[in-house]
Symmetry: C2
Subunit: 717 residues, 2 copies
């Protein structure tokens, strides 16, 4: 086996990057700001003991070879899954060894940074068992799940149906004679699809199927009672092969999630017992074959909100990760001297000093904090609402919470997904390379605008809520406000023809008012179109989406404002940090306003003349943020292990890391090839016939990438 | 070897998707429009005999196993390069066999849809030989290049320098004694980096290095004459190992280009002869060691413009491909019944009927045509300018051409790159899957906003030109217009305080005027800030970028307008198609205006009241486009082979294709795994020790993914 030139000592071993050295640049950047990084880190990341936990779990994972990430982009998909499963098993063993709690496990998942084949076990699978089982079912299943005696997945979405759960085609037909359900996939589109851990791993599944019961009044014809959850064993516990009557497989490679076996599954009249139907809330009377109705389905929405608050908090860390890489690298990267410099030998400028780079990165840096304070506010709203429900049966804030969480899930995941790509492009060529650390980040996160409620679809829920509230206010302008948003709606309705021209540069509070005014205006327009003019819902969808975005932006801005202008920071922040936060607030708010400026003008929150002052103000704010940029990203405390980025590592040794990664770690450099087109031989010394057979099998997919090599592996290496 | 459940006949073989069937839906869609697809296809794609050529080359490539794409996403990076090289060799052989010309080769590249290791041979490498060699060099090198006796690459960018070519660090120092150049990399950042075909393939390179000559006036001290091109043999012609004094390798995996070996290269005082310096325009007097200056460097800009016109024409096809997939799939995909439907059993709607989906896809469909007409206009400008230069030495349009091409390159590649992702997200879950055909498309195209001039950087060139023209006009408002843009600038300067409020809905011409007015306004603002107020260039960069975008949008809009309102279509179009083009023009223009509405308000091209009418107008235009959507994408004639998409294939058999791809073609489904965390065994029957060794090597990258398997491959399969 030839080691290739990369592994031998050579003259490049003693070379350094051109000055200035990255570590020196970052040291200087860190010296130019007096933001207290540790204090700010505690302020942002003390919930649930995040920082200490991160440190503890990281020290366990990082030395374990399986968790090394550096070769991931070189691997074939089947190997990525193999490794994903090995990692998942290892995490389970580590959790027992170290006595990890649920939060420790979540932290380990966050740090390993991939969806792994056990991801559903403690989440959707266990949640269904806990929340949907009756006492008897719980006693039987919960220990098996908690002891990981069975490995589970959650089978809801289908090839033909995702968001519209009511439309799923998989059927569970009650047979009164045998007292069994017959689970069946009548079509190809009824195939379960996308379900994580189903493809190769799980031996049990929660299967969501249309519950079909015979209707005595209709002569025994079957009628659907909608989607219900069933627990079904799907694979043999010894061989892990699918049981008879079930076809299962992995759906193939995706944008991201290479280590996860998202699967498909179809049933050919599979018989399952009465006890398979999870029956805490609803069920089937096995004697009469009649339906037992659920009592209060509203509680389901509560946990959805919690999931969405987590999504926002996750979005801030994901965005912080992209911004960390961008800020560090762009502080170090030099490009072009100042065009106005008289000296032709003027030094090249740090790329982050260019306003055209700042305008892409610094508002995103501000966005990480905006997301943080809104995530915090959502947790507070969630816990408050839950307490009200549990203590006094008060469901009154559920609608507000659900509306806020829908619009915010849509907006925040869009901001993070788009923000990653903005950061990547700002890093030019190296942003496109594997050393950026952006590839996996981007590929994984691009699922988020779709999952847990499609970002364009769920905004309808926010808009519907706002229309409802505006209808109440418009019908009775002197009403006592019942929900938070009523206050701003009342104010709007009382002054709806007035031009406000809020003093958005002079006064931070006026900025918040401008956002509320615009959201109220769009709510009123939507209310008028739908309720007064009675326009079809579908025809208003674009308008409703914009309304949800406006309202959600208003929430982000006002939560940020409240946190940094009207509260005592808790955990504490010193005056310097608070001062920087106030600048970041203004930058976030003005940048957001500028991006939808015409809506502020149409709503008369602003005049055109006022708008003309916004762009220079944004540039001025960026100049104020610039010296603190490196310390601000440091405060997000994203470890190098998670960044997996030559460009973004804490030490700033960008070019040595990039070079080392290519020259010492790239497996392709171990092989020497034959570039001559006149021969079919590809790898030097391989032989044309071998080359052809191997490559054809790879191209046609008749190999997993391994078996073809066994014969000629020596010739290649 | 277990075949896995996927390859056996099973009960799913006889299942169909739920109605309506995709092919029936597309048949209906095609029947609902009378746009003549063939005629429109000829209109769009007859330049250079594109359609016939596509058909001819496709019929050659498609049956060849190497060119099968279906397994690409499953493959390890080293295998992707192996296959890429094999494909490149095959293309070369096919081109000889079938007597392909340059356009045939380009078509084959377009259809195979990957950057392959020979990509530089006929492009940058051959171009440098042809354009930079003196007669003697040409006689020596050109036959070797044209006969592919040597395989070449182009080494310009470095680890530390991309866009700023003047800053590259690689040195070529003339030694007057030996009459040789000493090529040297003084730092790690001087490493060549990103250069395609360098990493594993090429045996020769054009190396761009600072030409250093001793300065007699300064006592023989060396002085740089800037970057120059040298031709250098880099690898042994027999072993393909790097020559002594050179370190070379592949830089590792990237976002896209898996089949291409983008490389790095450093020199340790490599000696090359005087003849290595390509000396058509400039050179070194070997006797006196003095510099021979080039005569007219402006011609370089001409070919840059040609490359950029090609980029625009490519962008239209890339965007057409994304839109083709989206339009076909979203016509077929059903989701939710109409919310206002009274019947609870109302059918689900085609997703493309929702305005929130239309607003994402249909303006992009319009954009494909906008790009087309501007691409055509750029070709015309290029050929006209070249003719003027060659026939009468008239360089007068060069500046205009360069300015237009810079701004348009930036805008058009941004539109296409963002458009791909917009289409992908609109397709929800299946858009994230490998069956979408979007993954490779996206990964490849995301390089385009960076290469051939970074999209944020090159807009300065457009802005600088506009400021120069505005300065001329402002200084002399009654001047005779010298360049195209002078006309609109004169009109603007004469009326610059007036509110125009163009009748953008009533009159297509007024829409064009509104775009020109806004661009002129921003030009005037930039002129005033830079020339009158003398503000630093850097401080204006954001403003300048916006100006370039505004001007480029104005070019897109006015070229589209001229083509469909003021010209006789050539090749011809019937009245129906022209009518649809007019609607598409309005949709593109209004959508583009709406996205930057505040600039139109600030410039007084519009009033706020007028703006309020734009959104309903866009929705109305989309309703007019909707029935023609499928036929319009059909006209772009993107073959299924290029789409490589279950969602977007011509026949619309979406769900059968998705299912078949997963169930019959996914190699992961050939392996059975052991999900039990209590054992280390991963693949059933593998043995724990084997599993651990293999997976650790994969994780650590100490394997190319092949050699570890040779021992235990039987256990795994």
């Amino acid at each position: 086996m030839s080691e290739g030139e990369g592994n031998m000592a050579d003259f490049t071993d003693k070379l350094k990057p051109a000055d200035p050295q990255g570590p020196d640049v970052l040291a200087q950047e860190r010296a130019s700001s007096n933001v207290n990084i540790d204090q700010l880190a505690q302020h942002l990341l003390s919930r649930n003991d995040f920082l200490a936990r991160q440190k503890r779990i990281l020290s366990i994972l990082e030395p374990i070879p399986y968790f090394c990430k550096k070769n991931q982009l070189n691997m074939a998909r089947p190997d990525r899954y193999h490794l994903g499963l090995a990692r998942a098993k290892t995490l389970r063993r580590l959790s027992l060894k170290h006595g990890w709690d649920r939060d420790d496990y979540i932290m380990a998942d966050y740090l390993t940074d991939e969806m792994a084949p056990y991801a559903l076990q403690a989440t959707m699978f266990a949640t269904s068992i806990r929340e949907q089982c009756n006492a008897e079912q719980m006693a039987y299943w919960l220990p098996k799940v908690e002891n990981w005696e069975i490995i589970g997945c959650y089978g809801q979405t289908e090839l033909g149906h995702g968001s519209n759960v009511k439309g799923i085609e998989c059927e569970a037909r009650w047979d009164p004679k045998t007292k069994q359900f017959d689970i069946h996939s009548p079509t190809i589109t009824a195939s379960k699809w996308w379900n994580g851990a189903l493809g190769r791993t799980a031996n049990h599944a929660i299967v969501v199927a249309q519950l079909l019961l015979p209707d005595a009044k209709a002569g025994g014809q079957y009628r659907s009672y909608g989607p219900h959850q069933f627990i079904v064993q799907i694979r043999d516990m010894k061989t892990n092969k699918p049981l008879d009557g079930i076809v299962i497989g992995d759906i193939g490679p995706k944008y991201g999630y290479p280590g996860m076996d998202n699967g498909y599954m179809l049933f050919d009249h599979l018989k399952v017992p009465h006890s398979a139907l999870l029956s805490k809330y609803s069920g089937v009377d096995s004697e009469h074959g009649t339906y037992i109705k659920p009592e209060n389905p509203a509680v389901v929405y509560g946990s959805l909100t919690f999931v969405r608050a987590q999504i926002i908090m996750h979005a801030r860390l994901v965005l912080a990760r992209a911004v960390t890489i961008a800020v560090r690298y762009l502080s170090i990267r030099r490009q072009f001297a100042d065009r106005d410099a008289r000296d032709t030998g003027a030094p090249e400028q740090a790329v982050l000093n260019y306003p055209t780079v700042q305008i892409r990165i610094l508002p995103l840096l501000a966005t990480t904090f905006a997301l943080h304070y809104t995530g915090e506010a959502m947790y507070k709203l969630y816990y408050g609402t839950r307490e009200a429900i549990e203590k006094s049966g008060d469901f009154s804030r559920l609608a507000e919470m659900h509306a806020a969480s829908s619009g915010l899930k849509s907006l925040c995941t869009t901001l993070a997904a788009d923000g990653i790509e903005t950061c990547r492009r700002a890093m030019g060529g190296h942003g496109f390379g594997g050393g950026s650390g952006m590839i996996a980040l981007n590929n994984e996160y691009l699922s988020k605008p779709t999952v847990e409620g499609d970002n364009w679809m769920i905004t309808q829920q926010t808009a519907a809520y706002l229309i409802k509230r505006m209808t109440a206010v418009a019908n009775s302008p002197s009403m006592k406000p019942k929900e938070t948003v009523d206050v701003q709606f009342k104010e709007f309705v009382a002054n709806k023809t007035k031009t406000h021209d809020h003093d958005i540069l002079g006064n931070a509070r006026e900025l918040v008012k401008a956002f509320k005014h615009r959201a109220s205006y769009l709510s009123y327009q939507a209310y008028h179109a739908r309720v007064v003019e009675k326009k079809p819902w579908t025809s208003l969808m674009i308008q409703l989406h914009r309304l949800s975005r406006a309202h959600s932006e208003s929430l982000l801005v006002s939560n940020f404002y409240t946190a940094v202008f009207e509260s005592t920071p808790n955990p504490p922040l010193d005056a310097t940090a608070v001062g920087v936060m106030k600048v970041l607030f203004k930058l976030f708010a003005l940048f957001t306003l500028d991006a939808s400026a015409s809506e502020f003008l149409l709503s008369k929150a602003l005049t055109v003349d006022r708008l003309a002052t916004v762009t220079p103000a944004i540039q001025d704010l960026m100049t104020q943020v610039r010296p603190h940029a490196v310390r601000l990203v440091d405060a997000w405390s994203v470890p190098d292990y998670l960044l997996e980025s030559a460009l973004g590592s804490y030490d700033g040794d960008v070019y040595n890391r990039l070079y080392h990664k290519a020259h010492k770690e790239n497996p392709l450099n171990k092989l020497t090839f034959n570039p001559d087109w006149k021969t079919e031989e590809i790898v030097m010394g391989e032989g044309a016939e071998n080359a052809r057979r191997r490559l054809e099998a790879l191209a046609l997919g008749t190999t997993t990438g391994h078996e073809q090599q066994s014969g000629n592996v020596k010739a290649r290496l």
